[in-house]
């Protein structure tokens, strides 16, 4: 617990009240971060800094605004809040804009979410430089004579946050975050210079793969793109790599928010309790995963976190409805957004599934595209591998998949056994049948 931050939050709430606000909610963050990258076996960038910020939500005369500042000197904050209250009074009234009923704050778990690595304080400049150098070396070695350029990078940070509301909510959270990245550009036919990267993020350094794996994976992913070309438009079975699922599911997720529903931007608004995908389509929201990147004990409204079935065996069970939109919709609130999203893994490896399918496309990246949350229509460029007889035979580029989410997720045939843990979206690779992939 950072008492200084906590005291500043309490003082800010009090200041808002004395400045004329009926209610207020204050969020304060404090972060120390370091970034180091290497290229050509020498540091390319070294960056280190502390950032802090205060945002205050003002509720006055049925009106609402949010103001944020990085200037946390008390006299500056005092003037800042006082002016914020005056400004808020100029806006239109909004009867739905209130702090949540305090009953939703109750029942908060006191679990240790394991978000702070006790060893973080020992992660010194020498350890950081060694990590990055080792990643670069591994990538250069695996990339061999195909390498044009390799960059390796680490970022790490320690973040503290306080959330406090004038009607009784108080919360503090703290986390350490480690990020390791390697990216490579390779020589290919003609003028093409394919590039790809590996990217890992975790809260506990022990979860980070070895630098050799991080570097080698970036090289292998890049080498897999050599000779990429467009192939003939056809229907394929596709395997969507675990770390790419969030991009596709993001289009579905955008329609699950109370704001989207109330603002008529959701193709799912009348689909609660109905089938929106195949029996394999199950999505859990689990805020209590130890070390999970989305783990939390309370949400941004201060609601006590709960584990939720969002989609179960293809049936849409819940929406993300925060306090404000619950008031506008006249619905019971749930929570404002995802914590950790989990699609349960299956039993077979991607290799086994490829062998079983024989022919198909393994999607390892997306490019451009769009998903329309109002209609559910989506169109997105893909990068990956054509496989035949269970083996990759051709890298593909300049190809596209398109369709409507409601139809697309009906085609979900299987989840592989490889959940991706380096994201708040913990999903395995997914298999879809009969997808039109357009190219030539």
């Amino acid at each position: 617990m950072n008492k200084e931050l906590f005291d500043l939050a309490a003082w800010s709430v009090k200041t808002a009240k004395s400045s004329g606000a009926d209610e207020s909610r204050v969020h304060i963050s404090n972060q120390r971060s370091v970034e180091i990258s290497y290229r050509n076996r020498k540091p390319e960038n070294i960056k280190e800094a502390s950032t802090r910020g205060l945002s205050v939500e003002i509720y006055v005369d049925g009106r609402y605004s949010v103001q944020s500042t990085s200037d946390l000197r008390k006299n500056a904050v005092e003037e800042f809040i006082s002016k914020a209250v005056l400004t808020t009074k100029l806006l239109a009234e909004d009867p739905y804009r209130t702090l949540p009923e305090p009953k939703y704050y109750k029942g908060r778990s006191d679990k240790d979410l394991g978000l702070v690595d006790p060893e973080y304080k020992n992660f010194n400049p020498e350890s950081r430089h060694k990590l990055v150098k080792d990643i670069e070396e591994a990538c250069l070695e695996r990339g061999g004579d195909k390498v044009i350029s390799v960059t390796a990078e680490e970022q790490d940070s320690h973040v503290e946050e306080v959330l406090m509301a004038s009607n009784g909510f108080e919360g503090y959270s703290e986390a350490t975050v480690y990020v390791a990245v390697a990216s490579m550009t390779a020589k290919d036919e003609g003028d093409r210079r394919p590039s790809d990267y590996s990217y890992f993020v975790c809260t506990d350094k022990k979860e980070m793969p070895d630098p050799e794996q991080i570097g080698a994976e970036a090289a292998e992913r890049t080498l897999d793109l050599l000779g990429a070309k467009k192939i003939k438009t056809d229907k394929f079975s596709i395997i969507l790599e675990n770390r790419q699922v969030s991009r596709l599911f993001g289009g579905f997720l955008a329609a699950m928010y109370g704001s989207s529903i109330q603002q008529k931007r959701s193709f799912l608004s009348d689909k609660k309790g109905e089938r929106v995908g195949s029996e394999c389509f199950t999505v859990l929201d689990d805020p209590f995963i130890k070390g999970g990147l989305g783990s939390q004990l309370y949400d941004r409204d201060g609601f006590a976190a709960k584990k939720r079935d969002m989609i179960k065996a293809g049936i849409l069970k819940e929406f993300y409805v925060d306090w404000y939109y619950s008031q506008k919709l006249g619905w019971e609130p749930t929570t404002g957004g995802p914590s950790n999203l989990v699609i349960p893994p299956g039993k077979r490896s991607v290799k086994e599934i490829m062998k079983d399918l024989g022919r198909g496309i393994l999607i390892t990246g997306f490019i451009g595209g769009n998903s329309n949350s109002t209609t559910g229509d989506a169109s997105i460029g893909i990068i990956g591998q054509l496989f035949e007889n269970g083996e990759p035979v051709q890298a593909i580029s300049e190809m596209n998949i398109a369709g409507n989410h409601l139809k697309f997720w009906q085609g979900l045939a299987e989840a592989a056994n490889d959940p991706w843990i380096y994201s708040s979206f913990r999903t395995p690779s997914l298999v879809f049948k009969d997808v039109v992939v357009s190219g030539l």
């Binding site: 944020s68 970022q155 210079r193 394919p194 438009t233 769009n370 460029g381 398109a402």
Partner: protein, 510 residues
């Protein structure tokens, strides 16, 4: 945590930015203070003297390095937002800090602090200095103030405009949109304004101070017809004076948003495959920015990861194609008086009648290529280091009429607006979502189209531009921001109607 990727993307919708950032309305010491052409803001408000700068720069170069610079920033941003008929939400943000950079060859040490006092600044400078490992390097004895042109003069500081004057703009967009069509069921409207004050001080003795305004008026509309819903939006803005926001601007924002939503009820999906594509004038210049422009940023070429790294002085397009990156066009989002390294803004000829004639440089790449910087060194904020970035990128008009270009296409698609573009620099591959367009059948524009992607290869597309029309225009929106290396900066783009022989259209119709 921002993901690190070489891929670049651009967002042309303003609404996303408005809702993703928390943001501010007032701040101490801002009102009625120095104009862009009256330097001294940071000294007057925060006590940033030449003596202090010299001391911090000396610390930055305590272990050597080629040069160091300080980037002071004080930015105030405001959003007011209308939902369900009322302007009932406002966000504001005050951002204050200094970024300190030490450069040695192509290596960068960087520290920043939000406290503009000596001790935190010296600490940040010491962090930056760790990139070098030699003896100290001397800082220039005297700073000479840069005297740039002003490409965005203001009659009134945006932060001096009372909130009461901004509210009717947003309310009027809402009322106008509902009056235009009975199909409109929801309107979200917003107004964003930002005033960014910067001071750049370099160890070579340069000192430059600027005030960069930015603003836009945005509408997003949902229309409903026979149980189906469609959504579209539009925004106008740039580095404008508040007087820009007249009744005609309000009407245009509302009208475009409504027309773009309503037309989608009649839209069809074109067949998937390779077909001729006509890019309409103005906003489709984003494709030029993404698919071609990024590959001409010098860092990608210095590192040999761009396909253009071996093409300098060679033919990359037909002679009808000339492309510039220009920071000097008045009041556009990508215009700058000088870049974030204190290099004066300029007009840079990238492709001269089909021949690649320049990359876009910051100081690091300029030093590598042994030329002068083109003034493209930009950064999102004091928390970020400089990269070569585009400003306003556009293709000049050609000799054809737009009608001839469409007729020449025969059958294909006509692209009026795109969004969510992404490019892979090394391969040159790109993909864009077509948010507005038409079918071209028998050389004429026919049914509207929707929900498709167009994909291709940037260098190949550039070679495949076979006709260019005489109807050049710049995109008029103010909400576009380009992303690269986790940093977003405002940019502009434009072009005339032109014909691309063939691109891949991704849809579900075979």
């Amino acid at each position: 945590m921002k993901k690190v990727s070489r891929r670049s993307f651009i967002k042309t919708t303003a609404a996303a930015a408005a809702f993703s950032a928390a943001t501010p309305l007032l701040s101490k010491g801002w009102h009625g203070l120095a104009r862009a052409d009256v330097p001294g803001y940071f000294e007057k408000e925060f006590g940033i003297t030449d003596k202090l700068c010299r001391k911090v720069l000396a610390e930055s170069l305590a272990k050597g390095g080629d040069f160091a610079d300080l980037f002071f920033e004080h930015t105030i941003s405001n959003w007011i937002i209308l939902e369900d008929g009322k302007v009932n939400r406002a966000y504001s943000d005050v951002s204050l800090g200094v970024g300190i950079r030490t450069v040695k060859g192509d290596q960068v040490g960087y520290g920043f602090t939000q406290e503009l006092s000596e001790k935190p600044m010296l600490d940040a400078a010491a962090t930056a200095a760790t990139i070098a490992d030699n003896g100290p390097r001397e800082v220039s004895g005297e700073f000479v103030g840069l005297k740039p042109n002003n490409f965005y003069p203001l009659k009134t500081l945006l932060t001096s405009i009372p909130l009461e004057s901004k509210l009717p703009l947003v309310q009027s967009v809402n009322d106008k949109a509902f009056s235009l069509s009975p199909l409109v069921v929801k309107v979200n409207a917003s107004f964003h304004d930002q005033q960014k004050r910067i001071l750049v001080v370099t160890s070579d003795g340069e000192k430059a101070e600027d005030l960069q305004p930015r603003n836009y008026l945005n509408a997003s509309v949902i229309a409903e017809k026979n149980g189906k819903r469609e959504r579209a939006g539009w925004n106008l803005g740039g580095r404008k004076d508040f007087s820009f926001y007249s009744k005609s601007v309000v009407d245009e924002v509302a009208r475009e948003a409504v027309e773009r939503a309503v037309v989608l009820f009649d839209a069809v999906q074109p067949p998937a495959g390779e077909i001729p594509v006509v890019l309409g004038p103005g906003v489709t210049g984003v494709l030029l920015h993404e698919a071609i422009g990024h590959g001409m940023e010098a860092d990608f070429n210095r590192k040999k990861v761009s396909t253009y790294c071996t093409m300098m002085g060679k033919k990359v397009a037909e002679p009808v194609v000339t492309i510039l990156d220009d920071g000097t066009v008045p009041n556009l989002p990508g215009s700058i008086n000088f870049d974030d390294e204190a290099t004066l803004s300029q007009k840079t000829l990238l492709v001269d009648k089909g021949i690649l004639s320049s990359y876009m440089h910051d100081k690091i790449s300029a030093c590598y290529y042994k030329i002068k910087s083109t003034g493209n060194g930009r950064r999102e904020s004091y928390q970020h280091y400089v990269q070569p970035r585009m400003r306003n990128t556009y293709m000049l008009a050609g000799p054809s009429s737009p009608e001839d270009v469409i007729e020449q296409a025969g059958s294909g698609i006509y692209v009026m607006d795109v969004s969510n573009g992404q490019v892979k620099i090394g391969e040159g591959d790109f993909a864009f979502y077509v948010s507005q367009g038409r079918m071209i059948e028998n050389g004429k524009l026919t049914a509207p189209i929707k929900d498709i992607n167009i994909m291709g290869n940037g260098p190949k597309m550039l070679k495949n531009i076979t006709m260019v029309a005489d109807d050049f225009e710049m995109a008029k929106g103010g909400g576009g921001a380009c992303g690269k290396g986790g940093q977003a900066v405002p940019v502009g783009f434009g072009q005339p109607t032109c014909l691309v022989k063939s691109l891949t259209v991704g849809g579900i119709r075979g």
